[in-house]
């Protein structure tokens, strides 16, 4: 479908109209779609050969999905326990992310079912960042956020990606807030076009 693609080891933006194949591309990367001939090399490791759990990805799925029956804190603890993140590092990151995303500890103690769309999306982003991911995949991760929160969330992702050297793939139908990303790809009928027009 996509052919050979070299994404940058920093930030990448994939955009395209609905139905262009963005979500299928994400499902292939996550390992939910069986694609036996795909290889995905990150720092000389073929992630396509690993199971979804072993890939150690930081993911925000469409609509900022979080566990509907848990509190915000329980969602974060699920990631931390799954990824065996050190307690001290977890607490440090938690405070930093809470401050930058303007989510209070009290808010995180609430069930996610009572949170607004924007709060859920910020929580989903925290879950993606807190598990020490090898790669970040953010599928429409900022769509429910209002102006200020959106800018803060994008800045957090940008800083996180640069400081910790985590390759990041942002999937969005709206490119207006991502001018700073040099590596932009357009998804068109299942094909990935580099910087519009040139196939990479």
């Amino acid at each position: 479908m996509i052919g050979k693609v070299s994404l940058s080891d920093q930030m990448n933006l994939i955009y395209g109209q609905s139905g262009s194949g963005k979500s299928t591309f994400v499902d292939v990367l996550l390992g939910f779609v069986n694609a036996p001939r795909v290889s995905w090399l990150v720092k000389n490791e073929d992630l396509a050969q690993l199971s979804t759990e072993q890939k150690k990805l930081g993911v925000v799925l469409q609509h900022g999905q979080v566990f509907p029956h848990l509190t915000g804190m329980q969602c974060l603890e699920f990631v931390v326990k799954s990824r065996k993140v050190e307690n001290k590092k977890y607490k440090d990151d938690l405070s930093a992310f809470c401050e930058k995303l303007q989510l209070t500890h009290d808010k995180l103690k609430q069930k996610t079912a009572t949170m607004s769309g924007g709060e859920k999306q910020r929580l989903a982003l925290m879950c993606a960042l807190i598990g020490e991911p090898k790669v970040l995949i953010l599928d429409e991760a900022f769509s429910s956020l209002d102006g200020e929160n959106k800018l803060k969330a994008i800045k957090l992702v940008k800083d996180f990606s640069q400081e910790r050297q985590v390759p990041t793939i942002i999937i969005s139908h709206d490119v207006s807030k991502f001018d700073f990303i040099k590596n932009q790809y357009q998804m068109q009928k299942g094909r990935l076009l580099h910087n519009v027009g040139t196939t990479s």
Partner: protein, 469 residues
């Protein structure tokens, strides 16, 4: 997962390995039984589908959502209450109006009573998916309700009609508990004949009958799966013909008959300790069956979502009661273990139906959540503990409660595997067969009390779950 599928298929596998003992001398008795079973199933399915279709037009014409929900509940109730209540109600009504319920007429009457309502609900669901298209055609071409139904609704519903007809036919063809009470000498069905051959020790003939029945049912199943109506995403709306709403009577009538037949004088012929012992025994069996059902469903859900397992469960239909019991009787020689195998049979008989009714849609709901848990790096155990168990607790409890309620009222499986009169339902069956309706009603009241206790336990566990999860 492999063992799960093996477990559900075990009756067929056991029979398959005993096929060497096949006795192909199909006597006139066997031919008559097959012809009778076909006749009663065909007529029962035909009546249920015709009345159910008319009921569905009424159901879908209702404008008030609450009334519509209440009517759906009334329509489904005869299918979900233990069969013993329906059979008693019918016998009581026949006794009051002085007509005989024995034989072909009785079997068709009870089968239709159970299936008409559920057909109405199934047809109305299928109709809702097509109604938007129908509305446009209706406005364009016709303003007469008869033309509307014949010209637009029926052609669009052919696949659904064949599918629902085959489902009901399948149910009636493998019906065991109803002919066991109201079938006479000339009204033996295949399942009943298998049961009689088990009791008389003619196992090779029983295996032959089960094998022929299986082949026949496999053919129906093939038909069923190829005619399954397609789900459409068209927006739901009501049909523009409110005058069809009185047809709701066809969907609700079985429930009204069921309630009307539940008025009777009662008597008790034994002492209290006898009833107490029997009631506790029945309750214990029902609770244990409910508990095992809960554990089994949880075990099943731990493997889901899984494409292969889901495909299997969607297309698999449980074997008939007699066939399953026969497989168990062949497989287990010890009488003590045979009594315990009761629960094995219940699981095999109930799981396919309950999965399609309650669990399939639940699995679709939790699919994205499990996907999320996997991306977060959760292993199988963690996903089960933190995600699947808390989310599935309520639906599993409901399934377990329904199974326990059915087991409490079951006299079909226990007739084969227990044989003695150690449960309430078995005693009720015997008194109903002897037309001792006063005594049956007394025992049914105790059974109803038992169902009440099960419901209280279910509510308690649900409340506990609401606090915990």
């Amino acid at each position: 997962m492999f063992f799960l599928i093996l477990f559900l298929l075990s009756p067929f596998l056991i029979l398959f390995f005993n096929i060497t003992e096949l006795n192909f001398s199909l006597t006139s008795e066997v031919k008559h039984v097959f012809a009778f079973t076909f006749e009663q199933s065909f007529l029962s399915a035909l009546i249920s589908v015709v009345l159910g279709f008319m009921g569905s037009l009424g159901l879908i014409s209702l404008q008030n959502k609450k009334v519509s929900k209440a009517m759906e509940f009334m329509a489904l109730a005869p299918c979900f209450v233990p069969v013993i209540f329906v059979v008693f109600s019918c016998l009581n009504i026949s006794s009051f109006f002085k007509f005989s319920l024995q034989g072909l007429f009785g079997i068709i009457f009870v089968h239709s009573l159970i299936n008409t309502g559920v057909c109405s609900v199934l047809f109305s669901t299928a109709l809702k998916n097509k109604i938007a298209v129908i509305n446009k055609l209706f406005v364009l071409h016709s303003k007469n309700s008869f033309v509307y139904v014949c010209k637009f609704i029926l052609p669009l519903m052919i696949k659904d009609i064949v599918y629902i007809f085959s489902s009901v036919f399948l149910f009636c063809f493998t019906s065991f508990s109803i002919p066991l009470v109201i079938g006479g000498v000339q009204s033996t069905t295949v399942d009943l004949l298998i049961y009689e051959k088990i009791l008389s020790g003619e196992l090779s003939l029983a295996v032959t009958l089960a094998f022929v029945q299986f082949l026949f049912l496999a053919l129906i199943l093939f038909l069923l799966n190829s005619f399954k109506g397609n789900e459409s995403s068209i927006e739901v709306s009501r049909i523009p013909w409110p005058r069809l709403s009185p047809l709701i009577v066809f969907a609700a009538l079985p429930f009204i008959i069921l309630c009307a037949g539940f008025v009777s004088p009662m008597s008790f012929s034994q002492n209290t300790s006898f009833y107490l012992k029997m009631s506790l025994n029945s309750l214990f069996i029902a609770l244990l069956a409910g508990y095992l059902m809960f554990m089994f469903v949880q075990f099943l859900l731990a493997f889901l979502p899984n494409k292969f397992l889901e495909f299997f469960l969607q297309h698999y239909t449980s074997p008939s009661t007699a066939l399953t019991c026969l497989a168990v009787v062949i497989f287990i020689s010890s009488s003590v273990v045979l009594k315990l195998s009761l629960f094995w049979v219940y699981l095999i008989l109930f799981i396919p139906f309950l999965y399609k009714m309650f669990l399939q849609s639940f699995v679709d709901q939790i699919r994205p959540v499990i996907k999320l848990a996997k991306t977060y790096g959760g292993d199988r155990w963690m996903i089960y503990k933190v995600v699947i168990f808390p989310l599935s607790y309520k639906v599993t409890l409901l399934v377990a409660f329904i199974a326990a309620a059915w087991v409490l009222g079951d006299y079909a499986v226990t007739s084969v595997l227990l044989g003695d009169l150690s449960t309430l339902a078995l005693n009720i069956k015997n008194s109903m067969r002897a037309y001792r309706l006063d005594e049956s009603f007394g025992l049914l009241m105790i059974l109803l009390l038992g169902e009440g206790i099960l419901f209280i336990i279910y509510r308690g566990l649900l409340k506990f779950g609401n606090k915990e999860y």
